[in-house]
Point group: C2
Chain length 329, copies 2
């Protein structure tokens, strides 16, 4: 259990360090509290014993540890109103009636990325949550068509298909069949249903049914599992602790580029705003992920902000709350 003064010292150190990433000494802190640097030093020693602070070397100032950030976020952080400037920039996006929800979300997270210099991510719903709404085909030339899949959540994906000696009529027949028989099925189960419900039927009266079946099978099995949108991919370079350590930057960039990983990583059913500091997330032990789920009409997904552990927690949480509120009404 920490004393009142220790709490105040920890809070000051975390906030100072977030503003400027240099270890914080006892002197600066003592000026803000009404006590001497020696007193502060004693408390800092105790905070270090508790694992909330760290030293970079024997005689350096203190830096928050991972547990320190966690304690700060859980107990010390005060949420403040979003500042007027931030709010204004976001409102421009929200006021735009033309935009569909998903565009509003993407655009506003783009704005946040620019304002904060953190990387932002928007994750659509997963393919097992999306139901097949409709499939459309558009012929391009004699040998190729484009198949367009639309899900009930409004997710659209398309794929060009190369077919030899298949009549457009047969294609239309097959598509009609799919739309009639298996629309409403979760996307990731469609492939299986194709095999058991469509293949046997078209086998009888569609020429080249093998080729056609294969084509559609691939269309669905290649369906992107998650629609993922990353904004400000390279913002990490703006963070001093990263720009001085290129290897860290590379690690994080690689995580972001590999879409599979990203999907596994940010998955959480909680509707509140969640904060994963360092090892608490699966991206990298040097970053913090702040994320939340949104749900609006049918559409749902996750938005996340990725920054250094030394993130402006209060500001980001404020923004996420604001965005979420605006989305959901």
């Amino acid at each position: 259990m920490l004393t009142e003064r220790q709490n105040r010292i920890l809070k000051l150190i975390v906030e100072k360090y977030i503003k400027d990433p240099i270890p914080v000494g006892s002197k600066v802190i003592s000026k803000e509290l009404n006590c001497s640097s020696a007193t502060v030093r004693n408390d800092m020693g105790e905070l270090e014993n508790q694992g909330l602070l760290e030293k970079t070397h024997t005689s350096s100032g203190r830096v928050p540890s991972e547990a320190g950030y966690r304690y700060y976020v859980d107990n010390l952080m005060e949420l403040k109103e979003m500042n007027a400037e931030d709010m204004l920039k976001l409102q421009i996006v929200f006021k735009n009636q033309q935009l569909a929800i998903s565009d509003v979300i993407t655009k506003s997270l783009q704005v946040i990325s620019d304002m904060t210099n953190y990387t932002t991510v928007v994750l659509g719903s997963t393919s097992h949550e999306n139901l097949l709404k409709q499939i459309e085909v558009v012929p391009i030339d004699e040998e190729s068509i484009i198949a367009i899949i639309v899900t009930d959540k409004g997710h659209v994906e398309h794929k060009s298909i190369h077919l030899e000696q298949v009549s457009m009529e047969d294609v239309k027949k097959t598509v009609g069949l799919i739309n009639n028989l298996i629309s409403g099925t979760p996307i990731d189960e469609v492939s299986r249903k194709l095999e058991f419900e469509i293949k046997p039927i078209i086998g009888n009266y569609v020429k080249q049914h093998e080729q056609l079946y294969n084509a559609f099978y691939h269309v669905f099995s290649d369906f992107t599992n998650h629609e993922v949108n990353i904004m400000g991919r390279t913002k990490m370079l703006e963070q001093p602790e990263f720009s001085s350590n290129i290897d860290k930057v590379k690690t994080v960039f690689n995580k972001l580029e590999s879409p599979d990983l990203l999907q596994d990583i940010i998955e959480d059913d909680d509707k509140n705003i969640k904060i994963y500091i360092g090892n608490e997330n699966n991206i990298d032990s040097d970053v913090t992920v702040i994320q939340t789920k949104y749900k609006k009409d049918g559409e749902e997904g996750t938005i996340a902000i990725i920054g250094p552990k030394r993130m402006e927690y209060d500001r980001v949480v404020g923004m996420l709350e604001y965005i979420k509120e605006n989305i959901e009404r």
Copy 2:
């Protein structure tokens, strides 16, 4: 005019420097030529006078200047066969019959990016080259529909539209009208045609025509001008001259992130492989862009490889030739 030996020296220096970015001294060169280092030094001095070589400081070895690279590319470079390993990896992509052309291109450039550690870009055709093929609408719920635009080149784009109190019937009518009257029009002229050919008609017998017209107007005017695909966005970090200079990296990253700029930059009607070294391109004076146009059936576009000026010119040109050849037949 350069002497034969000067040509050989310049070639050696460029190639050595490309392999390993440290200034090249007269001694190493003299070992490969049958002459003394003093002779080489004289020639190097002359090459520097001609602006083809540079020194990093008074007593350093030489480094190719921009003009030096240009001279190398124009006069000295020998194209060699692609090495077997590179070729094998690319063939795996080309052999895959399932893939549509555009996917083959994207995938193969992904492979090239991984093999070379350069950033690669695939640019689809511009919107004035794409003709409207067909527009489809899929209703999602009472108040929103998804509009899907397909062009003759097989480019697909979709947009969710929010409509209030518009009947699906009216939507279908309007879409039918568009498909009948203005399919075949270049995408960037559709908006105008909508105004003069569709608006007057639906004005008469479609309720809420204003809203509907606006919605479709935006669908087309927001149509992405260029489909752009970037692979290996962060590969620049693997290049020693960049990873030691973060500001350069940031500049290049920013250029890559801004899609508008990218479009202006890589625009060229020449069908050959073109090389833009340093200031010759508009991305950054520290990079080289090697690019070419491809054309296959209806589809056409540009592929580009972006790397440091110290790029492996011969290897990259070889790869591009190989890819182009494979695409076009």
